[in-house]
Structure formats: structure tokens, C-alpha cells
Symmetry: C2
Subunit: 411 residues, 2 copies
């Protein structure tokens, strides 16, 4: 593995000398190659699906794993859309002349080689490869083992395009050893891998962030809250709460807990209960909630659980400070929202909550690269450094200073 | 230790509700307190110095450890200068209205709690504490054990100012267990420490970056190069080379290796040799160098060594691509400079070299927060993510998205 990763690293440097135009042309060729080789990809996917059936894997996993003509077309279009993005490398982020008369430019540059570990979704393979190639980074991909046949064929298709353009195949690499031991070794190879992005299960993410020796940008869980303040527009609050829980309960930006100001709890809880039950939401409540409406009990474990399902905990809190206290204790720093018409209360919440995205009077479901207008999304970072929250392709770049002198020496 | 760090973390949240004005007033009080307690600090420093004498510590270390009235005044002034900086928190970095009509603000916020591990320099204690306090971060400081008495008294002085202003003392904390085991435990406490900044020895930095479970911003070695191209102005090249090596050989932004284009080596090497020998520089050279001038042999080990002394390796390379090849193999990604009048050659070098700061026709000694015009310097990051190169106080912030809606839900 070490030798291979070394090759990936050294070949990744070639990306610095390919023009943006050239890179985009190759990306469009890749999209075309996905279409032309659809039959091979579908055959490989069929054998993945067969194995998934034999192993009785959950329906949700199989749904994500499955490919058809339409999905391959969507993958190809996504690659073309990435090709159409503005080049994230070479942006002059800042620039000035120093006291010594040096012209200093802060310029975006690729990170180097990026390792991405992800779920069994073959479309992530093409997305990740295209995003890294577009941003002039080498990449080493490790998809879920359930998608192994599909990923292998997809990678062959992409690598053939590289080879046809006289580029080393390793620019888009698949982790050669995808066992748990292989991954453990991989995340210690900081001399070749500059950044690891783990997506998917909590256990995997914990394992990677505890053991990786290179920087990690996590795409971890979303323990998101919606707080309904006493000064809320209640009708708006209900619409937003339903949207934030029900529209797509499996999404990380869906809420898990509804916090209600104690001053309005008696009045509004029965209405919330009705509307959620109309939407088949299973409700759980704190002690105070259960004195007002009949729901199951929510324990500390519930307040710590990302249900990823149409289940909602309710907790009555003492105003905005009570809400902040609860969120600070249980939140995962993903997305938090307050519903209030009071501008002071809103600002207290938005300033004191430590999360990637804080909302007033909107659904947490907007925490998303597309919704933010980023064009393509690498994911939603729950790390605090380098990239936080919805992560556009700029998140795959770092910067360097280019300093232009005329013979200056330091006094 | 865990309980204490937990306290640090929870008390750090209070910084979010102190105004910028209040924070600056407290910083100025701290500067004043340093002056008023100078005698106590000097007494503690005397006992540190006594121990250093008994243990026969190197002169350079003692020089950094030693305090006097003048140095304490300089520490106080540095704190006042940090107070005078623009608040790094609350900057609106970017802002736009999304398709759904959400107003999105990307705003700088503190990172949380920052751990800083550094050498036996008591002035770093006040600098680091003031920089973290200014940027609304809690901090846990771990200075070199040689400075323990000095640091303890300095911390007491700073913490008394906090207490006098009804703030928790833990906002500026000293690592309670400063043994190696203590540090090993500390760098795994990612639930309380959001970022670790190790400065100082290579072994320590390697240990921290391999074992820390939270993000690390390294202040690691500088294996810097100056490449003299065939199209260089040779007089300028000599002046810059002397400055980059001789002005302060112990600095991380000093060069360790001089690369010379083979096309001009014969002609210019004797001149370089003379000028360096006038400056007492010890020269070593590659095989080709030694065919032209008489110097000691430079091996691969030399090309990998940060001398931090007035010693210079010389290597003859095949044009700009040879220089890039050498730097890619041996450089540490700190600062690299090319001397050339040819704009195309300069751009090839500046684009293809992967380092925090790349120069044309200037000394690498300018890689420094002050020289870049940053006002206060946290250090010079050799990490690639979050902060790279000279790191101003903005490097101690991250960002969050504040999203203002009017009832928007996701379709």
C-alpha cells in the first residue's frame, strides 16, 4: 500500500501543470465514458445487488446501492456540472504590498492528495473523483464494501480516460486494501495523504478521527434542534417544525428534538402534538411535556440520539437561555434554529449557539451546499477547522503566499 | 485533569457574551498588572535561571528564559498592542441571499479552547494568553518546564485580573500536569480542547501531531531553499543569499540549502564561496559543487537537516525543474525563493513549489507575521489546513453561518 500511495502522491503533482481548460475537457470525457460504459457498470452493480440480497442487507442500503440507466445519466450530468464550475484553484483570496515593498498574493492551491471514506453509494465515487480532479487534488477513494464491484468498474472507466489523456491512472485511486486493517494503516500515512474525509457511520468517523495522523474533516452526525420561543409566530413555528422533522427524517440536517419555551408550552403543545401525529411522527417528551400531553418518555439517551427516522423528542425549556443550555449539552454543532419575532432573543441565540449553521425563522433542512448556492457539495463538515458546515469545492483547496520582490532583504 | 479541562471548556463560553470593549479593557489591565508585579515575576525567574545554571542548560535556552525589567515592559506593551488590534471575532467574511430568500452571513467566531505547547520563553505565556483572550478563546498553556516558576507567577498575575473582573480564572489556564504523561493525556481530550498548537522541538511536534485526537496546527521546522537561476541578477542573488542565511541562522525562515543553476555554477560559485566565508558561513557542497570550489561534502542527510546555525549546503541543479525536484524531495513546505529576471521561470517555480510562502527576488526571512503586516503573530504554521504560513490572530477564529429566514421551509 505504501508504495502505491507514494505513487499517488508524486503523480498528483502533475495536476499543477494541467490547465483548467484541459481538466474540464477530461471531466467531460469522463462523463461521456460513464454513459458509454453504462452496461458494464450496471452488470457490476447487479452482482453487488445480488450479494446484498443474499446477505439480507437493509432496504435503505440497497436503495442507495442500486444503479439504473437513469442514475448513471445523473452521475454523468453531475460530473459535467462539476466541470462547469469556476476553477477553485488560483483564486487570489487577498493581496497587498508589505512595508518592505513586497507584493504579497494569497492564492488558493490544491491540498495535495485527499482520502475519502464513504458509504455504499456508487454515485459518490464519481462525485468525489470529479471534485478532487477539478480542484487539482489526487484522491484515494474507499467506498463501502457492498459497492465494491460497482466502484471497481466505475474507477476503471475513469482511469481509462486519464490514461487516454496520457495522465497517470493513480490520480484517481481506489484504496488497494479496503479491509479494516487496511483503513487503519491508510489513515496513518500522513506523508502521502494530506486530508481524510470520512462520511457515513458514527463508529467509522470516530475511529478515523481518533486514529488518523493527518487532518480530518468529519461528516458526522446531526443532532439538530428547533427552539420555539414565547415570541414565535406559532403557525410559522408549526410549519417549520414539521418540515424540519418530517420532510426527510434520514437527513443529517433534520431535527431530533423540539424545544419549547415554558411560557407557551401549555398553549401550543397540544397543537404541535396533533400536527405531528397527522404526519405519523412518533413523539417522546420530557417530564414537563408529559404533564401537558400524553407522549412516551424522552430520556437523556433520547436527547443524545440521532433518530434518522420520523421520531421526535420534545423538551420544555426556560426561555432562550434554557434552550442554549440544552443545545450546548446535547447538540452536535450541526444546525440549530430559533423561531421568534424578537430580534434580541434571536441574536442571543445566534451568537451563543456554537454550531456550523444557526437559523432564525427557517428550517434546519437548508444546511446543504445546494441550498446555500455552492454549486457542488463535498459534504457537510461537522469539524470546526478549515471547513465548517456545507462544504463547497473551495473546501478542497488551501492557500499559499506568492511574494514578489525586487531584491528585498530583511533588515 | 479531565475535570479541570471540562471547567475550562464550559467557562470559555462566557467569552461569547463579553463585549470587545470590555475584553480590551481587561487586556490593558493585564498589561498594567504585569508591570505592577514585575518584582514577583523577576524573583520567580531568578529561581528558574538558578536551576538552569545548576543543570548547565545551553546558553541559547537561558537567553530565551531570562527576564529583566525591560523584557517585562516589552511583554506588557505586546499585550497592549494585542488589545489595540481589531476584534477578529464577528467579522462578516461573506454574505448573500440564497435562492429561497434566506439571508446567509458567514461570520468569524472563536474556535473554543486552544491548547498551546511551547518552549521555555515566558513572553510566549503572556502573548499566547492575550491572543486567545482577545479572540474570545479559552486557552490551556503548557510552557517548557525550565520556565515553570516564571510561568506560574505570570499566570497568577493574569488570573487575578480575570477574578477582579468577575471572570472565571480558568479562561487562561495552565496545564495542571506538565509531565510527558500529562501532555499525552492532554492531547487526547478532544471533547474539551478544540485545537492544539505545538511549537518548539521537532520530536515534540511529531509526538503531538501523531497522537493528538483534535486538530493540530504545527509550527514545525523550516527546511528552506534559495534557488539562483541562470537568469538571475547575480549581485542581487548574493545579497539575498547572505541575508537569508546569515542574518539570523536560528530562525525557521532562514535557508539551509542554496541551489545553483548548473549553467552558471562555474562562474558564480567562487563568488558565493568568498562572500559566505567573509560571513563565517560553513559551506558544504554536492559532488558537482566540489568539482568547482573546495568545500566539505554535503550528503542527503545534510539536505534534510535544519542546521539552525551558520552552515549552508550547496547543490547544483538542472535549471528550475531541477530546483523544484530538489525542493519537493527535501523541503518542509515553509519558505522557498527563486532569484531570476525571467518571468516565466519565476511563475513555474512559484506555481509548482508546494510551500506556505514562495518568493521571487526576495529573502525567505520575510515569512513572518510582522513582516507580512499581520500586527500580532500566533506563529508560522507548517500545517496545510486552516492556517498556513504566517498566522495572524484571525487564525484563532473559525466561522459559522448565520441564516435569517422569514418562515422558509425546504421544498
Amino acid at each position: 500500500m505504501e508504495h502505491y500511495l507514494q505513487q499517488v502522491k508524486s503523480s498528483s503533482r502533475i495536476l499543477l501543470s494541467i490547465s483548467s481548460q484541459e481538466r474540464n475537457r477530461i471531466l467531460r470525457e469522463m462523463a461521456e465514458a460513464l454513459r458509454l460504459n453504462a452496461t458494464d457498470i450496471l452488470n457490476a452493480n447487479t452482482s453487488d445487488m445480488k450479494r446484498a440480497d443474499e446477505e439480507n442487507l437493509p432496504l435503505a442500503l440497497k436503495e442507495r446501492l442500486m444503479l439504473d440507466k437513469k442514475r448513471i445519466e445523473a452521475m454523468a450530468i453531475a460530473v459535467e456540472e462539476i466541470a462547469a464550475l469556476k476553477d477553485p484553484v488560483g483564486r487570489i483570496i487577498d493581496g497587498w504590498v508589505s512595508e518592505a515593498g513586497l507584493k504579497i498574493e494569497k492564492v488558493s492551491v490544491p491540498i495535495g492528495v485527499i482520502g475519502i471514506i464513504y458509504e455504499s453509494r456508487p454515485n459518490v465515487t464519481t462525485d468525489a473523483a470529479a471534485l478532487c480532479f477539478k480542484s487539482s487534488n489526487g484522491c484515494v477513494l474507499k467506498g463501502g464494501k457492498e459497492a465494491e464491484s460497482s466502484n471497481t468498474v466505475i474507477m476503471q472507466v475513469l482511469q481509462e480516460v486519464l490514461a487516454r489523456n496520457s495522465l497517470p491512472k493513480e490520480l484517481i485511486a481506489l484504496l488497494p486494501d479496503s479491509t479494516r486493517e487496511g483503513v487503519a494503516k491508510f489513515i496513518q500515512m500522513d506523508q502521502y495523504i494530506d486530508l481524510i474525509i470520512p462520511r457515513g457511520g458514527e463508529t467509522l468517523i470516530q475511529f478515523v478521527s481518533k486514529n488518523a495522523t493527518m487532518p480530518v474533516i468529519k461528516h458526522d452526525k446531526g443532532q439538530c434542534h428547533l427552539y420555539v420561543d414565547k415570541d414565535a409566530n406559532i403557525l410559522e413555528a408549526i410549519t417549520i417544525a414539521i418540515n424540519a422533522k418530517v420532510q426527510r427524517p434520514s437527513a443529517c440536517n433534520s431535527i431530533e428534538t423540539l424545544l419549547i419555551d415554558k411560557e407557551i408550552a401549555k398553549e401550543v403543545l397540544p397543537i404541535f402534538k396533533n400536527r405531528f401525529e397527522e404526519n405519523q411522527t412518533i413523539l417522546k417528551g420530557c417530564r414537563l411535556t408529559r404533564e401537558i400531553v400524553y407522549v412516551a418518555e424522552a430520556t437523556e439517551i433520547d436527547f443524545n440520539t440521532e433518530y434518522s427516522d420520523n421520531i421526535l423528542s420534545i423538551c420544555i425549556v426556560d426561555g432562550v437561555h434554557g434552550a442554549i443550555h440544552h443545545i450546548t449539552k446535547f447538540g452536535s454543532g450541526h444546525s440549530e434554529s430559533i423561531i421568534t419575532e424578537n430580534i434580541t432573543t434571536a441574536e442571543i441565540f445566534m451568537n451563543e449557539i456554537d454550531a456550523s449553521s444557526v437559523y432564525v425563522n427557517a428550517s434546519t433542512r437548508f444546511t446543504d451546499g445546494g441550498m446555500f448556492g455552492f454549486g457542488a457539495e463535498v459534504g457537510i463538515s461537522t469539524s470546526k477547522l478549515h471547513a465548517r458546515g456545507p462544504m463547497g469545492i473551495e473546501g478542497l483547496t488551501t492557500y499559499k503566499y506568492k511574494v514578489y520582490g525586487r531584491g528585498q532583504i530583511r533588515q
